[in-house]
Subunit: 112 residues, 3 copies
């Protein structure tokens, strides 16, 4: 199992969620975050206004998926989150060793 | 060292915290999250009302523990977080390679 | 690539950010968190008042860096976050297997 963490623009959350649903991926955790990237000193558009970027509101999505779904999930997130402008976000992939579904006690891939 | 991440129902946080304390686990980080699971379209109870589940408020707990405490911690979380209804949550386990305690500079297992 | 997660005192965020910038590390994600550590029952200073510590406001910083920058980043965070009093925080290190820059599609170390 892999964990996919994606830091994206908040207004892209619905599109990303839809794109993941279309792959059958429904278990997702979303956290509010503040981020800054490499564009320090540059400006970024947020709600129609330009900001000299220090911290900007971002949304962090976390989802744990089977190994063989990682590439499709990453592609879906990238396509849905992309605007072509700076600040579109980052995706990070790491290994999850075990998962437990609290209600049923299932473990491993069955649990995600 | 392992990181245990648990996404649970917010009203279960105190019970989970107590259960972990009883194991001597006091270092815990808690984040507010929004989540959705496999019950898309189903309903889930939140503060006495039924919701057609899209995003629901969840709490994310993170704790780093020694390898030999993982199973006991997972069991404690699962038992304390479980209501038997959908949406009870997920637990994920991954590897942490090093830890640093900022005040003392200790590293590794001593630091957690 | 490694992920560095640091849970620090909120008022130390600017210092930590500056210390990381001086190393050329600009990509950082920040999350609000509540934390408790080993000082259960002890008191901790927050905004000039003493609290019997249950949960305290903390800030969680996440940054993904090349392997050869980890030690310098950890040292920078530790020095900037340290006050010498309890509750100064923790730093955790783990492996990231891949990274994607959403705007450009770059992957791996190029993407971070
Ligand atoms: N190395 C990193 N570690 C952790 N979080 C990061 C890292 N790089 C970026 N982020 C997070 O992702 C958000 C979006 O990054 P961003 O898309 O601006 O990356 P970038 O490399 O500057 O690309 P671009 O040139 O397209 O802006 C940042 O605001 C930050 O929250
Ligand atoms: N694969 C996953 N990756 C990341 N987060 C997940 C995943 N699955 C679930 N979650 C998070 O855990 C929360 C609780 O999940 P939930 O307990 O509803 O899982 P479930 O598989 O639908 O089980 P149940 O049938 O008992 O509802 C979700 O709201 C979401 O935040
Ligand atoms: N093992 C752990 N797993 C996850 N988070 C932790 C862990 N230990 C501490 N934390 C987080 O780090 C924050 C700061 O921890 P803290 O600095 O109080 O650690 P400590 O071991 O009690 O050291 P000190 O004696 O200096 O207070 C906690 O409030 C919690 O959010
Ligand atoms: Mg940027
Ligand atoms: Mg569910
Ligand atoms: Mg402490």
């Amino acid at each position: 199992m892999k964990k996919i963490e994606a830091i994206i623009k908040p207004f892209k959350l619905d599109d990303v969620k839809e794109a993941l649903h279309e792959l059958g991926l429904q278990g997702i955790t979303v956290l509010e975050a503040k981020g800054f990237g490499r564009q320090k000193g540059h400006t970024e558009l947020y709600r129609g206004a330009e900001y000299v970027v220090d911290f900007l509101p971002k949304v962090k999505i976390e989802l744990v998926v089977e190994d063989n779904l990682v590439e499709r999930a990453v592609e879906a997130i990238q396509q849905a989150a992309r605007t072509g402008r700076i600040g579109d976000g980052k995706i990070f992939i790491s290994t999850i060793e075990d998962a437990i579904r609290v209600r049923t006690g299932e473990r491993g891939v069955e649990a995600i």
